[in-house]
């Protein structure tokens, strides 16, 4: 209760760059950070994920140029030419900067994309007293993409790749993305954070989504950063009347990763899905944190998060569902589940309900445990060897979350990514065994 922990974490890793920021918004953000420092476990929202891992290092700006051939090769690996996903229009960032030469020029009709450097706009998050990592992003944002879908346009699918390429020293990049959907528009974005030949970098993206009336944004993210990377992402979604933000995050990579979502339903009959799955091993820490705010009546929110933990890995789930006074007839459901596959794996879960309206239907649940013995025996009694039976159960456990993604193509991509990751994990385990 009174554990002695420093109240602030030094800004040393970014001090030089923070002292040199230009522009009002950036200066305000740097000022706020100077007052608060980076969040420590003393801050409730960072109770379980300790950024101490960043201290003692100095993060430099990522290099601006990159090796075009290496980047192309990496993209071919990430988006194999024979996969359906390779046919989709793509936007590519390399080391936090928009790379026009790697990106599609022919975006679907009604979709426009500009890079953040072209027209920097911090949007709704200009206020500096935001979450620490968002303030850091605001102060240091290098680039990013700003996607706008015109009203009524059904813009289909779009791939957004963030590639860390050949960064062997401590570098950090802080892209600032935004997605704006006009009234009645729809878009599916599949965001892939990946790396090629990259070391211990920090990727700190911020994405803001403005979803107008009756618009529908599907946002699927696959995080497979380099094994020594730190990935700290924040997403804000503002959802209007009858609009929907349907999201799924799959956490596979990084030594430390956090996917933080703030989704606020401002209009009646809006819907939010913040689903996810994490497959962690070695000494990975994976954190899914969300605040789903019901700020209007008759809205629906759903959240299912599943974690599979091997070795010394640790998963964190913090999910708050906030129902404001006006948000009568709210329907909220939240479920967090974890499978512990190793004696030293750990889960910390904090599913939270904060409710100020009375006519609501809200529930949450959480379970933690090992694989079910009955299920395992059933599979084995049908002749399936122990290892294979375990893998089937693990995959099934995660697939149940993946199957909540409605877009069939994105779901298929997730299934394949997951199957590949699982077979690699098993392969790695067999090698060490």
């Amino acid at each position: 209760m009174n554990a002695i922990a420093p109240i602030t974490l030094s800004l040393e890793p970014f001090a030089a760059r923070l002292s040199d920021v230009k522009g009002e918004d950036r200066k305000a953000a740097a000022g706020a950070l100077a007052r608060t420092g980076l969040p420590t476990p003393r801050v409730e929202a960072w109770h379980y994920t300790n950024l101490r891992a960043l201290s003692g290092r100095v993060f430099a700006d990522a290099p601006v140029g990159f090796d075009e051939t290496a980047a192309q090769a990496a993209l071919t690996r990430i988006l194999p030419p024979d996969a359906a996903i390779a046919t989709l229009p793509r936007l590519v960032l390399v080391n936090g900067r928009f790379a026009p030469t790697l990106s599609s020029t022919d975006l679907p009709e009604g979709v426009s994309c500009t890079s953040f450097v072209q027209s920097p706009d911090f949007g709704i998050l200009a206020s500096p007293d935001r979450e620490g990592m968002v303030a850091l992003n605001t102060a240091l944002a290098d680039d990013g993409v700003q996607i706008i879908v015109a009203p009524g346009k059904q813009a289909g699918q779009l791939v957004l790749v963030s590639l860390a390429l050949g960064t062997d020293s401590d570098v950090s990049f802080h892209p600032r993305h935004s997605i704006t959907l006009g009234e009645g528009a729809s878009l599916s974005v599949i965001e892939i954070a990946a790396s090629e030949n990259a070391g211990a970098y920090l990727h700190n993206p911020v994405l803001t989504c403005a979803i107008a009336e009756k618009a529908h944004l599907t946002h699927v993210k696959i995080q497979q950063e380099a094994e020594n990377a730190v990935h700290l992402a924040t997403v804000y979604a503002d959802i209007a009347v009858r609009a929907a933000y349907d999201s799924f995050t799959l956490g596979l990579g990084s030594v430390m990763a956090r996917h933080e979502v703030h989704a606020t339903m401002h209009g009646n009959h809006a819907a939010v899905h913040v689903n996810g799955a994490q497959l962690l091993a070695a000494s990975q820490v994976g954190d899914i944190t969300s605040v789903i705010a019901h700020a209007a009546p008759d809205c629906i929110s759903r959240q299912t998060v599943r974690n599979v933990l091997s070795d010394h890995s640790r998963a964190v789930f913090q999910g708050k569902v906030l129902v404001e006074r006006v948000a009568q007839k709210t329907d909220g459901y939240q479920m967090n589940q974890a499978l512990l596959l190793s004696p030293s794996a750990e889960i910390n879960a904090k599913p939270e309900l904060e409710i100020y309206a009375d006519d609501v239907k809200c529930s949450h649940g959480a379970t933690v445990g090992a694989l079910d013995d009955d299920q395992l025996f059933y599979l084995r009694s049908r002749g399936i060897p122990d290892d294979q039976a375990r893998q089937m159960l693990v995959e099934a456990f995660l697939v149940e979350a993946v199957d909540l993604v409605e877009d069939e193509m994105l779901r298929t991509v997730l299934h394949q990514t997951l199957a590949t990751a699982l077979s690699q994990r098993v392969g790695a385990a067999e090698k060490t065994a």
């Binding site: 013995d373 009955d374 299920q375 025996f377 059933y378 599979l379 084995r380 009694s381 049908r382 002749g383 399936i384 060897p385 122990d386 294979q388 039976a389 089937m392 159960l393 995959e395 099934a396 456990f397 995660l398 697939v399 149940e400 199957d403």
Partner: protein, 256 residues
């Protein structure tokens, strides 16, 4: 070989809050190839325990006795090795596997068993052909294959799914643990026919039941009465009729 399964003096117990509780207290049973045997007995007599012990459930500890299957030590095998050797347990309460597709599960199991038996694995087409034929025989809807294993299945659907698995895995000894419980007449007939279709000199069954009805369909070669963890009486099909009419009381008194 006149003994497919030979159980001798089998004792087994389960851990009940730290202290072992003995449930099987010296079971002796022989099942020759090609025969259908029934085990009847009051609740708690150890029937289900026997089926779990034979299938290799780890919760039970065998404290004495032996079980030879095709002359080999059954109790030394892992559950999947027993399945490959030809033991199939139709569960009293089939387990639900959320997220595991029924067809995929079945194909994985069939090919694992075939691999172990040195039979060629079935490709997708071959498997689908075989499974379609089987589901048709069992009057099962095709969509049962697309659903998750036993999830949201009715009681009857679950039991049919067990028989489907049995059909596909081609066991030499099927243990049916109250497969007839909770079934209506039509479903019972379908399940019984599923078993009858497998009958051959290379297929035996051990049927655990409370009811005469299933035995009427199957025509068992031998009937065993189990009580307090032992087989207390064995006889022909007439024994089942006698139990049906008189109950277990007389047998229990005799045994006591």
């Amino acid at each position: 070989m006149s003994e497919l399964l030979k159980i001798s003096g089998l004792h087994a117990s389960i851990d009940a809050d730290g202290t072992p509780k003995e449930i099987l207290r010296g079971v002796d049973l022989v099942i020759p190839p090609g025969e259908v045997h029934a085990i009847m007995g009051p609740n708690g007599c150890g029937k289900s325990t026997l089926s779990y012990v034979l299938a290799g459930r780890e919760d039970y500890e065998v404290t004495a006795g032996s079980a030879l299957f095709k002359g080999e030590d059954l109790l030394a095998m892992e559950p999947e090795e027993r399945a490959a050797a030809g033991i199939f347990l139709a569960f009293q309460s089939p387990v639900e596997l959320p997220g595991v597709n029924n067809a995929n599960f079945l194909r994985t199991a069939v090919n694992a068993v075939r691999r172990a038996r040195n039979a060629p694995e079935l490709d997708a087409v071959g498997f689908l052909k075989a499974v379609r034929a089987a589901t048709k025989n069992l009057s099962m809807a095709d969509d049962m294959l697309k659903r998750n294993v036993n999830v949201g299945f009715s009681g009857g659907e679950k039991k049919r799914n067990e028989v489907l698995q049995m059909t596909m895995l081609q066991p030499t000894l099927a243990i049916l643990d109250e497969t007839d419980s909770g079934l209506d007449v039509d479903a019972l007939r379908i399940v019984a026919e599923g078993v009858q279709n497998l009958r051959s000199p290379d297929f035996s069954a051990l049927v655990i039941t409370h009811h005469q009805k299933l035995l009427d369909y199957l025509g068992p070669d031998r009937v065993h009465v189990m009580a307090k963890g032992r087989i207390i009486r064995s006889g022909g099909p007439e024994l089942a009729k006698q139990i049906n009419e008189e109950g277990y009381a007389a047998f229990l008194k005799e045994a006591a």
